[in-house]
Symmetry: D2
Subunit: 154 residues, 4 copies
């Protein structure tokens, strides 16, 4: 799925906009998920391992991985949206390739194809142990732009 | 998708087993997700609204909904597995039908078809406001039984 | 996922509209897939087993099952759309519960939630052998209404 | 999702094995889908546009795209399986990025992570018009190896 297109952001302040909306996602702060970088159509997040978010075998719960991947994908899409659009996830599929066992995790979301209404994205989650990165999970997500709903912030 | 089959549990202590494994999922306790009920092939969880787990518009984050649905589906599958099996999620797809806006949420997982290795499940998330339940999200999940891995508890 | 809502069609001629669009899907005729019934938000298709559409073990290929399920879901959505809308599938996930082994197959699509732009649907495929129906596959599909594109028929 | 690992096939005759199984998929011949190339963990198929497989707007039906992508992904997985394994698709998700409008289509499947039982794959479908390739659809698919079922050929 490697269409190496460069995307043109419709909002010159897209980095700011993404950072502001990310800061409003209380869940990111609660879980200790950080915004590492924003480029046009690409977002990277990271999280240190935290026992509070593990499943019964001591690995990070698949849903927590999905939470970070969904935000990475949605903000990758949001970075290419017009200034007046709010962002909402339509659906995502997460494949759990291997248990999320690591000191730290990196979550990458990127746009496959932007659109006025729907943006198609994919993401990958990586476990970091020492200097090694292991693919933990993948996501494909459909993200929607909403217009004219002033009660939806960013 | 309504195959109203009754399933025969292979483990007479399936309720206990599910409750024990659920109690080991630290993330459930962290997020305030409760185990409401366990039947053979069916599990119900619930969570009160908590601001700590919201996205930028004040709704529960899609990934948190997916976390609860994944556990509901995985434990529905686990309830039908042999006593010596451990449980792991292979993949899930979550569709976000409407924003997760409610006082409380109910998550239902049920088995469509059990199997020695793979069990197919589906789940639904409902927002409760007063006495009204609204369908918030659906999930389909493939759940795997693992045998002979003594380091994986339950 | 059983929200037993009755849906109100926005197009009084929805049966006709679905039948006309279905007749334009050349692939349905090529594969021998029939339109059994149309209700508001529900469509049923069927196909006899045909060796021409089998995979290496002699079962109907998963993609052929997906073809019928996608049309069942998309037309279930289309039945609730406004007269001026054209219909397009955004994405679907298909779970292959058991090999598609039967004399005949039934495909049921139904709407979970209709919307102006996006409609959420689910479908199920059943193998018929004598008087027994076996669940073969499930689908969840996101369907889109397109407006103002006169080159897209129905 | 770019883990550029080289995979070691467990079957030295993997090309032959894939070609033989592909030849047994009657549906591939029926639809005019060709096996272009097989490498360890990667398969490419192609199909010329055929009116017989179109939907109501004259584009190739999403299910036909899914049929080719599923075979590309399943055979990418099969190329890495042990000689005694048969192959079956567990589930796939297909995202329809843009209508399948072209003279010819290319379908690429590749393995993200092989396994004894489950292999995780992804695929992409491309429309070819003149010398231009456009991304039409993506797939993620879970593929299963079956052992000891002598009635399942290849």
């Amino acid at each position: 799925m490697s269409s190496k297109t460069r995307f043109e952001p419709r909002d010159p302040d897209y980095r700011d906009k993404v950072a502001k909306s990310f800061a409003l996602q209380t869940v990111m702060n609660t879980m200790g998920i950080n915004l590492n970088s924003v480029r046009a159509g690409e977002v990277e997040l990271s999280m240190d391992h935290r026992d509070a978010y593990t499943q019964q075998h001591g690995f990070i719960h698949a849903g927590v991985t999905a939470t970070a991947l969904d935000s990475a994908c949605a903000y990758a899409a949001f970075s290419l949206m017009a200034p007046e659009a709010a962002v909402l996830t339509v659906e995502f599929k997460t494949t759990l390739i291997t248990p999320a066992d690591g000191e730290r995790f990196i979550y990458r979301g990127r746009v496959l194809k932007p659109g006025k209404t729907l943006t198609y994205t994919e993401g990958s989650a990586w476990a970091v142990q020492g200097d090694q990165e292991t693919l933990v999970a993948t996501m494909t997500a459909t993200i929607m732009a909403l217009y004219g709903r002033s009660h939806l912030r960013l």
